[in-house]
Amino acid sequence: MFKRKSMFLRFLATLLITFHICFDLIPVIWIFVSSFKTNFEFIKSPIKFPSKLSLENYISVLTYGGSSAEEPLWKFLLNSFIVSFVATLIVLSVTALASYALLYSFPLKRLCHFLLSFGLFLPTSAFMIPYFIIISKLGLYDTRLGISLVYSGMTIPLGFLIIHTYMRDSIDSELIEAAFIDGASFHRIFKDIVIPLSRGGILTASIFLWINSWNELLYALLLSQSEKSRTIQVAISSMIATYTANYPQAFAAVLLSILPVVIIYILLNKYILTGLSFYVKK
């Protein structure tokens, strides 16, 4: 009786994992394989392998926007790179400074801690109009910097959570006290002791922040108007309207938008795993 029950459970578990792996892989493989076909070939037989492997769809969307006659995709990829890079840099620098300061005790420390972390779970989609007003007032509407600033603001709680937790757990207060007694200044301790010791946390945070900004849609949509600030997500989000004439080109565009993140995931997988453990720490 006992044995049979555990065998049944084991069977269920295998089934669940198998199904899930199929759901994870099949759509991506289908899109990937189809992205090498011509449109004619795809519509005629959507599940056959392509007759020849040609990179034509990729080249045409990258260089002249494919059959949609939009701007070439590389421009939007570049915009996204710049936007997410700048946002990540801003968040890393301000949250590293704050996390270091919070290693000391001072009045209102609890309040500061609360302020920096309460936004983590807030539905920032409710801030559409205020964010739009702020960026317009700064004269940054339809610029990459405007989008970067909003991304920085939104992800400060996330950056703070990771970097602060990492610093708190990996830096011994005695070390700082010893450096202080040796005559190191507040800034010197930060630069020469704290930053080198929190490298792992900073790298982890930067991956999370970068992916977050790369993948964001709503505020990129609201804050950009022309192709000079349009991000890749905005560009592909309007694709159903413009690309339906050519499915395989649309697939190629989607895969190009995913590629950078997949590369990061393959190379820096380890840091993503440690990063997630910060969420469950007290």
């Binding site: 400074l97 300061a101 400060i156 202080f180 997500q233 499915y247």
Partner: protein
């Protein structure tokens, strides 16, 4: 550490991030509340209208659908997505052969943007060339189903990718499961507890924190949800797949009703704050009791 003399430096180091919080969280919060009681199109002068915007919202059919759908997203997140993530995490935590490969494959789609996932599933569910209908056809089911245009299947079709892609949720569970000392399981093994009993009586009570955090993350994700309906259905058919953010987006960019947009923002925030408080309270309570 107590370094009174550093007061000024500490202030300098904290100021930039507090400034960002003021500009991007505190000011917006106040601004949302303020604009929600105004009539404004973003260009001409604002006019005070009291609670009229809220009255309008609750008389608008599309708003009611959006609100109900967003609550459904949250409920599906809490009661389907999170338990599914937990089940898979519990299976992988037993470290079956090849578990780390499975883990990496399961997490992979979670690194993609929701835009990309929404597009992929839009193509998957396409009536004539989509893979789902192609598979059904080879299995012998005739007739092309328009999953995203059918009023019965549209909403669940937009939610399907979210329900399935549990990678992030699973990894948070795995992260906390890995902190449980192995001795607990060894002792249970000696006492003759089955694997299922070990999961129910040891693992699950010890990962309450991960459960709470996952519910919070998924709730925040659902309250921000615009991409799936925006890309897969544009809110259709007949407005049945609208969510609160999509409603706000259309009120802002198409109708230019800024006051109504922000009244809807107030309701989104209230929902968010209420759920955050509820979960943190429950978590605190449970952690103190057990």
């Amino acid at each position: 550490m107590q370094f009174k003399m550093y007061k000024k430096q500490i202030l300098f180091y904290i100021l930039p991030s507090i400034l960002f919080i003021i500009v991007f969280f505190m000011y917006p919060f106040a601004s949302v509340l303020y604009i929600s009681i105004m009539k404004w199109d973003g260009i001409t002068k604002m006019a005070y209208v009291g609670l009229n915007n809220f009255r309008y919202l609750f008389s608008d059919k599309i708003f009611k659908v959006s609100l109900i759908n967003t609550i459904r997203w949250v409920l599906i997140g809490t009661f389907v997505h999170v338990p599914l993530g937990l089940a898979i995490a519990l299976i992988l935590a037993k470290k079956p052969k090849g578990w780390s490969v499975y883990r990496n494959i399961i997490f992979l789609p979670n690194t993609f943007s929701i835009v990309a996932l929404a597009l992929i599933w839009y193509f998957m569910l396409q009536p004539n060339v989509g893979l789902i209908n192609q598979i059904l056809k080879t299995l012998g089911f005739e007739g092309e189903r328009a999953w995203l245009a059918d009023t019965h299947t549209a909403l669940i079709s937009t939610q399907l990718p979210f329900i399935l892609y549990i990678g992030f949720t699973m990894l948070i569970f795995l992260a906390q499961i890995s902190t449980i000392p192995a001795e607990y399981y060894e002792a249970a093994e000696i006492d003759g507890a089955s694997k299922l009993q070990q999961d129910i009586y040891i693992t699950i009570p010890l990962i309450k924190r991960a459960v709470g955090i996952n519910i919070l993350f998924n709730t925040a994700f659902c309250l921000r949800m615009i991409e799936y309906p925006f890309i897969m259905t544009s809110g259709g058919p007949a407005g049945l797949t609208y969510t609160l953010p999509l409603y706000m987006y259309n009120q802002m960019t198409r109708a230019r009703n800024y006051g109504i947009t922000m009244a809807c923002g107030v309701i989104t925030l209230l929902l968010g704050v209420f759920i955050i408080m509820l979960i943190t309270f429950l978590l605190d309570y449970l952690e103190r009791r057990w």
